[in-house]
């Protein structure tokens, strides 16, 4: 049975002030009652089982994870000493899981994405797992674009590799950074570009080998940690290794370098829910395009998204705003600037207002 590895180390700053240092986006109920992490675990545990589901996160989130995922065995939380981006987190998980079964496939999933159609998601993953299980290739899922998004990375789809269980996999010709709008339009029109979903499927030994080839410092660190794994020395060794690591993403560190990457185009509804405006797509609006979560009145107000669970609000004569009120802080952001909220978080940090971060 393959492993699932859920990456839960993100900070989700673009959801400030709802997401906080102590409770980032993946631990929030942004869509309905369940948290993003709970939805992610449900989605994958239905395929691989909860005993094979692992979560990578910092030690500070261990209790929160166990509270939110009651059926998760405590030892299925893989603790990172610090956040060092996805390459380190994935390397660590591959090392831990490789100890259990080095030739088994691991499915890597972000903890905070939305997937619309679980059946299609499972079918795609089954094919991807079968393909990755051969040990020659690593597989990533590419989402068929339906709009010229500038907020996602893209994958240029190459030649057909094979069709497994009715699902075609293609060679990934190139990974591309977030495009400007004109390029995004070209990508959409060409039909040969897919959104980079951040979901990966590979054997633990295969990704370890690729890390060995492209990220030698990380690879050496993993070997050092592996030697003390299961002993009392491990936590200190892990901290020492992590202190030496650069922050680097798996996309930049491995995917863009490797020549044996396949991509499976996916048609299920998917969204990385990267910011408030992305979230808003999944919430019902009034006839003027407003969302009001909380008590209040909206006068002469259009296309505005208000989250105010504890305060009564009145909006008069405004448009295109995101308004988020929490117990101790408030955000007002023009929708066109939703990506810039992380800058506001840094500015608040610079001012020393850490108590609201």
């Amino acid at each position: 049975m393959p492993f699932a590895v859920i990456m839960a180390g993100g900070r989700g700053e673009r959801f400030w002030p709802r997401s906080r240092m102590a409770r980032p986006k993946q631990f929030l109920s942004l869509l309905g009652k369940k948290t993003m992490l709970q939805l992610t675990v449900e989605r994958i545990a239905g395929l691989v089982g909860i005993w094979n589901t692992y979560i990578v996160a910092g030690a500070e989130f261990k209790d929160l994870i166990l509270q939110q995922i009651r059926q998760l065995p405590e030892e299925n939380i893989i603790i990172e000493p610090y956040g060092r981006d996805t390459a380190a987190a994935i390397g660590l998980a591959a090392m831990v899981l490789g100890q259990k079964n080095p030739r088994e496939v691991m499915v890597v999933l972000p903890a905070d994405h939305y997937v619309g159609n679980m059946r299609s998601f499972h079918e795609t993953l089954r094919s991807a797992i079968a393909t990755a299980g051969r040990g020659e290739q690593i597989v990533t899922l590419g989402i068929t674009p339906h709009s010229p998004e500038t907020g996602y990375g893209y994958i240029h789809r190459g030649e057909l590799f094979d069709t497994i269980a009715g699902i075609p996999a293609y060679h990934a010709a190139r990974f591309l950074e977030k495009p400007d709008y004109a390029r995004a339009l070209e990508f959409l029109a060409s039909g040969n570009y897919l959104w980079n979903s951040g979901m990966f499927i590979w054997r633990t030994d295969v990704i370890r080998a690729l890390i060995g080839k492209h990220l030698p410092v990380l690879a050496e660190g993993l070997v050092e940690m592996e030697e003390s794994l299961g002993t009392d020395l491990y936590p200190q060794k892990a901290a020492e290794v992590y202190a030496k690591l650069q922050k680097i993403s798996i996309d930049f560190g491995v995917m863009e370098q490797a020549d044996n990457v396949l991509v499976i185009p996916c048609d299920f509804e998917w969204d990385d829910i990267g910011c408030w405006t992305a979230l808003e797509r999944y919430i019902e609006k009034d006839e003027r395009g407003n969302v009001l979560q909380g008590r209040g009145v909206l006068l002469d107000t259009t296309n505005t998204y208000v989250v105010s669970p504890d305060k009564t609000v009145a909006l008069v004569g405004v448009k295109d705003l995101i308004v988020v009120n929490t117990r101790d802080s408030m955000l007002i952001c023009h929708k066109s600037q939703a990506q810039e909220i992380k800058k506001a978080v840094r500015a608040l940090q610079d001012e020393g207002f850490d108590d609201v971060l």
Copy 2:
């Protein structure tokens, strides 16, 4: 010594959510540390003395007034059973003060206006008191306009009546309602129009006579109340009389009807501080025209006024907003709509959210 009568019955809805039913605008420290009422009392008590200073308000504000104006004798608060606009409030005050001295002058002042130059204010009032003391005319103060304001009523200045203590008084030819912008420009250009300040100077017997002529229901009510004044019957009698009164302003009920009205043009800085944007004129701004009262950061934000004493705020990519955060409620209003805040207050009332009003 003349009497001063400060009208403190207003609701100040356009300052929601800082002004509340239980603490309207005149009881708030909008400019500096002192409340608008404290500033008004200081300004006039310097001329007539605190013992001759009276405040008209509802019973619900009695404790608040005594807290804020510690030196005020309790009997100088003239209680109205209900708010019935300025004609009734002034009539009541004239009746009460007429019992003390019917031929004495009373100066009527709103509780919530800003006056920039106290010395000029006092000089003007001294002249107005001398003029009104003759008993032939009633006097109002007209502010020399410096901009085409559409938020004020205007007074058309007629012929010169007389110059007393170096200050000329004119016949008030006509009272005009708030104009549109084009007319306000004409008024400003002509030089013969003054802003209606809502400040009046007259003898108590003279205004009683004018009320008798133009507002007979009020006049009869005042006589009924007068008969029981000082007895246990008075509160019930006052409530009965007030229940029969229409809401009517002194401007509409008397000033626009009377033919013996004088107006003294005033050059001191004056503002009725009618809404948040008016208040903002007296507050220092940053280089992008922002005011931030409270803790927070403003990114790519211009011409925005934020009051947030208890919550940390972040504003990103917005402009021309008024943002007011209080313990339990929040307003976000485009500056062009500052006059409409009272509509929001009514909408909140219609929704049953009285606890935040």
